[in-house]
Amino acid sequence: MEEFVQQLTNGLAVGSIYALIALGYTMVYGVLKLINFAHGDLFTLGAYLGLTLLTSFSLQDKMGPLAAVGLLAIMVMGLVALIGALLDRVAYKPLRDSPRLSAVVSALGASIFLQNTVMLIYGARFRVYPQDILPRTVIDFFGMPIPLMRILILLVSLAMMVALYTFIQKTRIGTAIRAAAIDQGAARLMGINVDRVILIVFMVGPALGGAAGLMVGLYYGQINFTMGWVYGLKAFTAAILGGIGNIPGAMLGGLLLGVMEALGAAYISIAWKDAIAFMVLILILIVRPKGILGERVAEKI
């Protein structure tokens, strides 16, 4: 039982990180029908920018650890959002009227560019987050020790997802984003500035991805310039699993994938962790190509 709860909470924490990244894929896909392959690298950037800001300002000495992490998260999210907007401007906007494949190739190119930029700046070795930022508290959960960090990650991610969902469902801009995802031309006829919608999507998605990068840095303590590849692929899987283009789907897909991976690693074999994730993807695509909550069939890219 304890092993199960440990794996379940771990899976939920990792899954919520997948979900945050998956939201970036799914939002961009929703509006532009483009898989932003550079999204995983924006996540990496979040992790590295977090490290730089943390070590260069030694925030945790100036304020309490929670305030420091909060401020750090805001700065990282802001910066990665700007980089996301810049990425769209440089890599995608000039190709808006080109065949979709051109934008996909541009996305792959942007991914390689970002990954190598991180490597050139920070080096190819693993970098280590300072271990003393957040207290490594372990809380007692019905007699089972659960790291506080795990619960914090889950709660903060869920809060972000609820905030995003409310923004998309309840606000004027959110409704405009949904409209642009359904029919860009009709959205323009309503007087919606679709270019601005795209800009917002390219800021909100990367901001969430950057926050996820920071969380991984804080949770696992070490980061690498290639980490965006694996996390990006898993999050992409999660987005497909939930139904790409569908925001609640990305959340659900992320959490499910995280839990299945953790339970699979625990009860089958840890070596099969990634294989399980992708087997789940294949099964879902065979049984329900639209994804769990998907309304339309994901187009091939």
């Binding site: 409704t175 949904r178 359904i182 006829l189 919606i192 500035n193 679709v194």
Partner: protein, 236 residues
């Protein structure tokens, strides 16, 4: 406000679609554009709305050159369109569709009034307010598409095939409603396959053939024109 189209040329890739369209709509008029499939009627409307950018020519609305304005700026100037095929947002509710129609309209008071008026014009939309637009019948979707365009507080309303695929009884209702809308002072440009109904409603009409205006006259004269009768009124 007057809408003027001067020598409008539009190309899709290398293929020319409009070859010098000239057209004027005076304030308060209902003007219909007739023409066969592919004549360029929808392209003309999409150019006015700024979704298609012309290769040359000018579109002037209320004295302002709007040819190069972005589409949302054009809506802000008071040009709203109900596009061909309705294009309602199917996975959004009727209410959300109407909200989006008023996206550029920040006057809450006016929006509330427009909504009342819309519910008076199309009572069924009030009943369906919380329903997804995609679950409406074709006629209801058409009403929603027109209502949505009205939410923008348009000075001029562009209607692309509002009768397409509707039962004759509904066509009559829709056309009566268009007249009612026009009587409140909204200028209407009506693109229609149903030429007879359109000419009965409109003040003036244009006939578009392969990207050019070939005829322009009052609606009555066009209705009586043998050429129009043969080509568009089924031999009259």
């Amino acid at each position: 406000m007057r809408l003027e189209i001067k020598d409008l040329h539009v190309k899709y890739g290398n293929v020319g679609v409009l070859h010098g369209v000239n057209l004027t709509v005076e304030e308060g008029e209902i003007v219909t554009i007739l023409g066969a499939n592919g004549a360029g009627k929808s392209t003309t409307l999409m150019s006015i709305s700024g979704l298609v950018k012309p290769s040359s020519g000018k579109i002037i609305f209320g004295g302002e050159d709007i040819t190069k304005l972005k589409s949302h700026k054009i809506v802000e100037r008071g040009v709203a369109q109900s596009p061909e095929g309705r294009r309602v947002f199917g996975t959004l509710t009727v209410d959300e569709n109407l909200l989006l129609g008023g996206f550029t309209n920040f006057d809450a008071n006016h929006k509330a009034k427009t909504r009342e008026w819309i519910y008076h014009l199309f009572p069924i939309l009030k009943e369906r307010a919380t329903q997804l637009a995609g679950t409406l019948s074709g006629g209801e979707q058409q009403m929603l598409a027109i209502a949505r365009a009205l939410m923008a507080r348009p000075k001029i309303l562009l209607l692309d095939e509002p009768s397409l695929g509707l039962a004759p009884i509904l066509v009559k209702t829709i056309f009566e409603t268009i007249r009612e809308i026009n009587e409140t002072g909204v200028t209407v440009v009506l693109v229609e396959q149903n030429a007879r109904a359109a000419l009965k409603l409109a003040h003036r009409g244009y006939v578009l053939e392969v990207g050019k205006i070939v005829l322009e006259d009052s609606a009555e004269t066009l209705l009586a024109n043998p050429k129009v009768q043969n080509a568009y009124l089924g031999g009259g």
